[in-house]
Structure formats: C-alpha cells, structure tokens
Symmetry: C2
Subunit: 311 residues, 2 copies
C-alpha cells in the first residue's frame, strides 16, 4: 500500500460528519489537501498544543496498538483540558518503523479515534511517513470564549492547591507491566489508557473558580514547581496526598503520566468534593517565596518528576 492508499484508508475510517465541509464555521476542510481549515466563531480563543511520543521511550512495540493511539491523543487533549478548553480538532503525524504491520496502524487508529469520538475531536489532517523508529506527534486545537483560558501563571499568594483523582497510578502501572495481578490491573490501565480531564477543565473554566491550572504529565513535584514559578510564588504541600491504591507517596509526588489536573483557587472559593465526576483534593497552598520552591509539611521538596533531559 502506498501513501495515498493509506490516507484514503484512514479517511474512510472517519465519521462522515468529519469529512463534510461547512461554510458556516467549524472544520471547513479536513484530510486530503495541503492543510486543514478551521473557521472560528467571533469571540473565540483557539488553543493549540502538540506532544510527541517515541517507540521504546514512551511506549513499547508489544503494547496494544490501540493503547498507543489512545495515549498519543490523551497527552495533547490533557493540555487542552488544562486550559479549560473544548477540544475541536487534531492533526496527527505518524512515522512507522519497518516492524509496523497494517494491522498495527489499524489498531492505532482504532484507539486514537475511540478517544477522539468520546470528546468530539475531529481528525483534520496530519502526516504519514516511515522512519527507523515509530514516532507520533499529535496537535490538538481547542477553543474557549475569548480571554477565559486557564493559565499557569495567574495564581496569587494564599490560593489553595487542588488535584483531581488519585496520583501515582501510571507509574505503578508502568512498574507492574509484566504483572497479571488483578491488584495492579487498574494501575496498568491507567498507564496504558489514561483519560484526559476534559470535562473537569471545562467545568473549572465555566465556574470561574480556578486562578491557575495545568495538567499533571511529568509528576506533581515538577509540574507544581512550574505552576508556582510561572505565578512567581512558592508552594507548600500537605499530607495526606491522594495516592492511587497500591502506589507510594513518592509515586504520587514524582510519577508522571497521570493526566490529572492541578489547579489553584482563592481560599474563599467553594470547591466541591467532586466536579465533572472527579474527586478534588486540597493538597497545599501557594505562598510568597522563591518562585518555584516547594515544601512538603515544612521540608524542602526537590522536583523529581519526568524530565527527558535528565533521565
């Protein structure tokens, strides 16, 4: 099969509404031309993010291909969720290694499109190529009413810190890859097919209760240090952290790939115990101090999450 045949095969898999052009707005032109066209409504801010995944670094050959497709989209969708945006469309660049068979590509798209359908993300185009190693880059565009995107650097001293869900599950799942124990099944699923907190991000934005937000992709310690630094503040964490069942506190602090949301809110804000189906837990506070400095129960905490240039 040549490149054009592959593109036609992929196009045939897309829901029909994603292929139909509209002059009224939205996705005017999708797959098959030099580029895609998205026509926004006035008063809308478009949000763009992109995230790469590489064979043997972010996934292994033996992973279920649908999980690789699912996670590739999840990583970028999670950034869109962290801005409080409604996902709109995605571009997918896929380079396949010689070991990749057509069934793998089909499985990859199955997983990608299953998550895309769940959040109504149109696959608007991309790039398909071959390379020595399989790699994937996913760009997602989302939108918010103008001026309402949730950012990292907009929190104030005294704001309280919250996280959604439970942390450390993905790194536990990664450690338990070869296990068949039912005890680590949920963690293995969290590692393979994480769910981006799209509805939660939009709910936080609509309610206007978060002063800053970001997603937890590299680990709470590293990501919180970034949010605090961007806001020109220090942060203190307090116990107990919401730890994924079976994981350690260190997993919850430094494990990446959870794709939960971290946000700050004024102390006066009423934060529900659950929002958009996710449990919310208060984990600390932003304070005046050296920007990005962290402490846990009074002890200095050194960020030790995922960093591609350190590990």
């Amino acid at each position: 099969m040549n490149e054009d045949a592959w593109i036609r095969r992929i196009e045939a898999r897309l829901p029909v509404y994603r292929r139909s052009a509209s002059r009224k707005g939205g996705l005017v032109l999708g797959i098959g031309d030099d580029a895609a066209i998205y026509r926004p409504a006035p008063g809308e801010d478009l949000i763009f993010t992109t995230d790469m995944m590489h064979e043997e670094r972010h996934f292994r050959r033996g992973y279920p291909p649908d999980a690789v497709g699912w996670k590739a989209l999840c990583r970028s969708l999670s950034d869109i969720a962290a801005m409080g945006a409604q996902p709109r469309f995605a571009l997918l660049s896929l380079a396949v290694a010689p070991w990749v068979k057509p069934a793998w590509i089909d499985g990859f798209y199955d997983g990608f499109l299953a998550l895309a359908t769940r959040y109504k993300v149109a696959l608007a185009g991309g790039d398909l190529s071959r390379a020595a190693h399989t790699s994937i880059d996913v760009m997602v565009c989302g939108s918010v009413p103008a001026g309402t995107a949730l950012r990292r650097g907009t929190a104030y001293a005294g704001d309280l810190l919250y996280v959604s869900g439970e942390l450390g599950g993905a790194v536990l799942g990664l450690r338990s890859e070869r296990s068949r124990s039912p005890k680590t099944l949920a963690a293995r699923e969290r590692h393979l097919r994480p769910v981006p907190r799209v509805a939660l991000g939009m709910a936080l934005r609509r309610r206007g209760i978060a002063s800053a937000a970001m997603d937890l992709s590299d680990g709470l310690s590293s990501d919180l240090a970034r949010l605090a630094r961007a806001s020109g503040l220090a942060a203190k964490l307090c116990r107990p952290l919401p730890v994924f069942p079976g994981a350690s506190e260190a997993d919850a602090l430094h494990g990446g790939d959870d794709y939960e949301l971290l946000f700050a809110a004024p102390a006066s804000a009423r934060i529900p115990a659950r929002l958009a189906g996710q449990r919310l837990t208060r984990v600390g506070e932003l304070i005046d101090g050296e920007p990005g400095h962290l402490s846990l129960e009074g002890e200095t905490l050194v960020p030790a999450g995922w960093d591609p240039f350190v590990r």
Copy 2:
C-alpha cells in the same frame, strides 16, 4: 541542562514581540504554558498543516544543523503557501538523539528562526524530548480571508497547468551531496535550504487567478496526479518542462523536495511570466478522463515521485 532550562533558553532566543501577549488579537499566549492561544479576527479562515522529518530519512547527522531547522519549517510553510495563506505561527516538536549536542540544537533553532523571521511566523510553542533518533514535527497555522483558500480539488476541465521556478534541483542536490563542484552548488543549496513560495501563494490568492493549487513536495508526477484526482480530472503535460540547470527531465518529473507551486487556471486567465519574483511556466492542461491519469506529450506517465511507503 534539563527540559525547563532548554525551554527558557529557546524562549530567550525569540524576538520580544513574539513573547508579548496581546488582548487585541493575534498570538495571545506563546511558549511556556500548556498550549498556545491564537485569537483570529472575524472573517478569517485559519489553515493548519504539519510535517515530520526523521534522521537518516529526511536529513543526515552531518548536515548543517541550521539547514535542518530551516527545511523543517520550509516543508510546512510550503503547504501554507500552497493554500495562498499568510503564515501566522508555528508549533515545533523536536526529539533529539543522544548524539545531538547543545550546539546542534542552537544551530537548528538558528535556521528555523531565520526562516520564521523572514515570513513573520511566530514560534508559539511545541514539545522538546529525547529519543533514539532525531525527529522533528512542525505545525504551521496560516490565515486567509474566509472562503479564499486555494485548494486542490477545485479545478475544471480545460484549465491550464503552471509551475513556479525550476524543477529537479533538490534531487540533483541530494545526488551531488559530496560534490564540491560550483556547478551543483545551487542544487545543493536547493536541497538543503529550499525557499517556500509564500509570497507567490498569497499573490495567486489575491489575484484570484488560480482555480486550484498545491505545493511540489513529492515530485511533479505524484503531486499533479493528486491535484487531478482531487478535481476528478486527468492531466496532460507538455514539453519543455522548466528543468533546473544540470538536472534531467526525469528529475523534474519525479524529484521531490522542490517546494515550488503547481496551480491550475482557466484558459482565459492572464498569467504573468513572473509573479512575486518567481518565473511561471505553463506545463499542461487538465482534461476530462480517468481521475488522476497523467500523460506527457501523449504517452501515459506513471507517477514516480517520493512515497515513504514505496521506497
């Protein structure tokens, strides 16, 4: 240097106007958050494209790093040019192999930003990671007045076909990589640092003379077959083709990476000999027939340009 330090180093290289947020429109939020924000003006269509490059497939370790950065952006900019759009901003995903030194990354950004500055493309964000092999994915967003983008599938039977510049230079340059002959210097430069036809694409769109357009990235034979097929037409080519000095006609027909523009125009349209600094040459005509079928001076021509799934 860790990831955050790298991002700060890259951010420091950007012109100040690209880092400043504006609430009036344009790039509202650039590098450093979960995603970038671009606020369009009403009546604008945004155009999105993405293109990947891989070590040892699209470039070699020994290439000047600035040429790799330049070409990575050129490939996507050329798609934007083919739609007649004004480039607005780019996202850059870069994964570096262990052999990549900081000086290589600096050189890469030098080349990328040199071309970005030339066409006022803001680098709005991206992703930086490490992998076994170096790979690059560049997303570019461009804009046009609503409804005016140049597409592939909108030509009519009887429309004449034109190309800009001269074809086959990049493949000649690739063949002459190890040559030091001044005769192939221009071809080697075309291979390493092609120039996207951004001004030409915008001029064609503004003048309203092109019924369809695309860029020549895989070779005239393969790309023309796509334009013809998208328009539901066959195409006939006629001699002489505008061949790059020193290249063969086969290079001009099947050589990729030229990044010239191919467009169709009604026979009644007045096409200037030069536009936006580029020579325009009539190379054939679109006719009723089997969609995508090509002929050259009456003989059937089989598309034989670059196809990652065939070579």
